[in-house]
């Protein structure tokens, strides 16, 4: 019998641990990675020629980062590694990948999706100005290129990444003008009982905030942002305007802003694989359905890491192992020695409790999104305003997001709604006076990311079978 074909998509914490375990079980998994080297976003490696040490790059997580890199590098020929490769579609039991001008069809018996997450964005007026970045992008600039996004930076949004990136900027010597958290002051206490599930992590968060305070960084909670302001020429970020309690406005001057409201799962591949999705009320987003080990509803599909549940890096390592064990079990193969599934599941549950605590402590400000002014650009790819989207929901009577997309083009551009879809659903839901889950979610359409027309199929004969 031929060895089962197992593909892991993503080489971050979840993908690395899954590949390690599959290889230990005697399989030779294929690991498809959009990155140039393993590590994912959180443990992204610096480009060749950069010489910062792990402590500088990863702070308190240096040990975990180097361990994960070492594990992946140590796999060597035990896996087939495809870096800088886009997994763009799933069809007929095969994953479709592309690297430069080469397109390949990779049939699989099991597909483990560990594609991580991106920032959940709010299309605040001015969010497309040069100098406005997502928190993740602000962090990548620092990690990969040792660059700050500006010389005086405001961080705006909510979630742990807000404080982490701000503190990394402070440590790197950048001037942080302010950290503006939209979470109400009391929200943190609401999340505390659940977040107490991981006291060490909670303590790390407290240390981060203490460091920012010691550095004299202005920190506000319960912020109601109005817009990102441009300079006189209208060509660059010049400040962030926030509401004051008396109904006025306060401007915090800066030349760059990093924004993000926690994370959203990169779940397009699960969607293309035909997986069922459920609305997760805690995080207020749609997530692919999975059992406690990561089995999706579609046969042969497994989910791990932030692309399934935003558990963070440590949770992703556990979820990667659990999903790999589920793959082995379903293929009828023995697990490598020393794997304690019950313990892994318990750890995962602890992390899931923490996840729900975070969602309470750093809530998505749905009301703010729903009330964005009509002239706000919601879909930046297609330049569609909140007003046009509202009109599709009301005047044109679109009952949910996909219909609103068809009428307004919201979510039809290069990003395929990855950055505007969640905010767009809030706007449609509010315009129609229905809960956001009724406004639905944008259905995934291949390719996952733009695919070059220059791509040549490796095996043209595959067409004959269609």
């Amino acid at each position: 019998m031929a060895a089962p074909r197992v593909i892991v998509v993503g080489a971050g914490p979840a993908g690395t641990r899954a590949a390690e375990l599959l290889a230990a079980a005697g399989l030779r998994p294929t690991v498809v990675d959009e990155g140039r080297a393993s590590g994912g976003q959180i443990y992204r490696r610096q480009p060749p020629g950069f010489r910062r040490d792990a402590r500088t790059l990863y702070g308190t997580e240096a040990g975990r980062a180097t361990a994960l890199h070492a594990t992946f590098d140590g796999l060597g020929p035990a896996i087939e590694y495809l870096p800088e490769t886009l997994a763009w579609n799933i069809h007929g039991g095969a994953l479709y990948v592309q690297r430069e001008e080469r397109a390949r069809r990779l049939p699989f018996d099991a597909l483990l999706i560990a594609t991580g997450a991106t920032d959940r964005m709010i299309p605040l007026p001015g969010w497309t100005l040069p100098g406005a970045f997502s928190l993740g992008a602000a962090q990548i600039a620092l990690k990969a290129q040792a660059c700050a996004i500006g010389s005086r930076v405001v961080f705006l949004g909510t979630g742990p990444l807000l404080y982490l990136v701000a503190s990394q900027y402070v440590k790197a010597g950048a001037q942080v003008a302010a950290v503006l958290d939209t979470a109400p002051p009391g929200a943190r206490w609401k999340g505390l009982p659940l977040m107490a599930a991981r006291p060490a992590l909670l303590a790390k968060g407290a240390v981060l905030i203490a460091q920012l305070m010691r550095a004299g960084v202005t920190m506000r909670r319960g912020v109601v942002p109005r817009r990102v302001l441009a300079d006189a020429a209208g060509t660059r970020v010049a400040g962030v305007a926030i509401a004051t309690p008396d109904g006025g406005e306060e401007v915090i001057a800066c030349d760059a802003v990093g924004m993000g409201w926690h994370l959203r799962a990169e779940s397009q591949l699960a969607d293309l694989a035909g997986c069922a999705f459920d609305f997760d009320a805690d995080s207020r987003q749609w997530l692919p359905r999975a059992d406690e080990d990561g089995r999706a509803s579609a046969p042969g599909i497994y989910l791990a890491g932030d692309s399934a549940r935003i558990l963070g890096a440590d949770g992703a390592e556990i979820a990667g192992r659990l999903a790999a064990l589920a793959v082995l079990k379903d293929l009828g193969l023995p697990a490598p020695p020393g794997q304690d599934v019950a313990a892994l599941r318990r750890q995962r549950q602890v992390m899931d409790r923490f996840r729900r605590g975070l969602a309470l402590a750093f809530p998505w400000p749905a009301g703010l999104v729903a009330s964005l002014p009509d002239e706000t650009l919601v879909c930046r790819c297609e330049a569609i305003t909140a007003g046009a989207l509202r009109q599709s929901a009301t005047e044109l009577d679109a009952p949910e997001m996909n219909r609103a997309k068809a009428f307004s083009r919201t979510g039809m551009g290069r990003c395929q709604g990855r950055f505007c879809g969640i905010a767009g659903a809030e706007i449609v839901a509010a315009a129609r006076g229905v809960p956001v889950e009724v406004a639905g979610r944008l259905r995934g359409q291949a390719p996952v990311k733009p695919l070059p027309v220059a791509a040549l199929a490796d095996d043209a004969s595959t067409l004959e079978s269609t």
Binding site: F407, G413, Q445, A446, P447, P450, V453, L463, S465, T466
Partner: protein
């Protein structure tokens, strides 16, 4: 329940049904349209958007001409823009056989008032310099063009509603019964609908309904294979197509004014009446890339951002079903447009309304009669 009674009931809210509802109101008849889901969501919404007469079955050209005239008046008729762009339509040939087919089609189309300009390879490249050296000839139809299929059927339905038609979405018809004086339909929500006249314009589902009414037709359903590139500066004015007998060479593309290039062809995928729409087949997407580069090499520098499929109804003889029932008085059909219904949609609505209101039509539609299958 007298409020659920009208002169005409239309079963199916695609472009054909919505346009028929609109033109029936123009003729003063009361009309109720029943749509199982949302108007224009199936073939009418996911098709390529070709407003093309060139290449049609010649006896269909009078209908296509009538429809083309309506396309030109749409913003004023509907009060909405459906992005109709009379940008011209160009078919290319890669072989001498295809050139001969083009010449004979041009000669056949002329008596119908469709003037096509045949250009040699060099002449067509002189006019459209982005065409590849492999193009041997082009057949240019200056007044054809394209429009936005996502907007057209819903715009007709809204205009019909403004004109007094009842457009009932999410109204799934479960039973159709004959009764004295017409037809009685029951929807899943328990409501009853009555009219002396019924039009079945249920697209891919039309064959199933015709069979239930005792008029089975040979029909299959297929999934068109569509894609769209990122937006680039507007440069490819005419809609492009290929004259060929080889399905794997059949490619069509059009650039919308905002810059994206929509394309389709080179094969079909499966489709099912009772399942969610299939997605586009990636093997076909990749094959389309080779044909895109073959026709316009510069397209090799672009990226695609989205693909899709859906469901279309094809008659075995590639000719739609349109006109009165061969069996029941007051029953009319307009379905099975074989992946080529978008251009003629407004004309179909106009002709069906004329036929229902007056008992006859000035546009010949005999070749499409359902009686041809009995």
């Amino acid at each position: 329940m007298s409020e659920n009674r009208a002169d005409v009931l239309i079963l199916g809210g695609g472009l054909m049904g919505a346009a028929t509802a609109f033109f029936l109101r123009q003729r003063g008849l009361s009309v109720i349209l029943l749509e199982r889901r949302l108007v224009g969501q199936q073939a009418s919404g996911i098709n390529f958007g070709n407003v093309r007469r060139q290449g049609r079955f010649l006896p269909q050209l009078p209908l296509a001409n009538r429809s083309r005239a309506i396309w030109g008046r749409l913003p004023e008729l509907l009060g909405e823009d459906v992005e109709f762009l009379p940008s011209g339509h160009l078919r290319v040939a890669y072989t001498p056989e295809a050139v001969a087919t083009m010449e004979s089609y041009r000669d056949g189309a002329r008596p119908y008032g469709l003037d096509l300009e045949l250009l040699s390879g060099n002449a067509v490249r002189a006019r459209f310099p982005w065409l590849s050296p492999e193009v041997m000839a082009g057949s240019y139809s200056p007044h054809d063009g394209h429009a936005n299929p996502r907007l057209a059927a819903p715009a007709f339905a809204r205009a019909a509603r403004r004109a007094g038609a009842r457009i009932e979405e999410e109204a799934e018809v479960l039973t159709i019964e004959h009764e004295s004086g017409g037809y009685r339909l029951n929807t899943a929500d328990g409501r009853v609908w009555r009219a002396p006249v019924l039009q079945v314009s249920a697209g891919a589902w039309g064959g199933r309904i015709a069979a239930r009414l005792g008029e089975p037709v040979p029909m299959v359903v297929r999934g068109p294979q569509m894609g769209v590139t990122e937006a680039v500066p507007y440069a490819l004015l005419p809609v492009l197509g290929v004259t060929t007998k080889e399905i794997r060479e059949v490619l069509y593309l059009r650039q919308v004014k905002r810059g994206n290039i929509v394309f389709g062809g080179t094969g079909h995928g499966p489709a099912e009446l009772d399942a969610p729409p299939h997605r586009a087949n990636p093997d076909i997407t990749l094959h389309q890339f080779t044909q895109l580069r073959r026709m316009v090499p510069a397209l090799g520098a672009l990226r695609i951002i989205r693909t899709w499929s859906g469901i279309e109804g094809y008659m075995h003889d590639e000719i739609p079903v349109m006109g009165p029932s061969a069996k029941w008085p007051g029953l009319f059909y307009a379905f099975g447009f074989c992946g080529a219904g978008f251009q003629i949609g407004p004309g179909v609505g106009d002709v069906m309304a004329e036929l229902i209101a007056t008992g006859t039509t000035t546009t010949p539609i005999e070749p499409f009669h359902i009686g041809r299958f009995t």
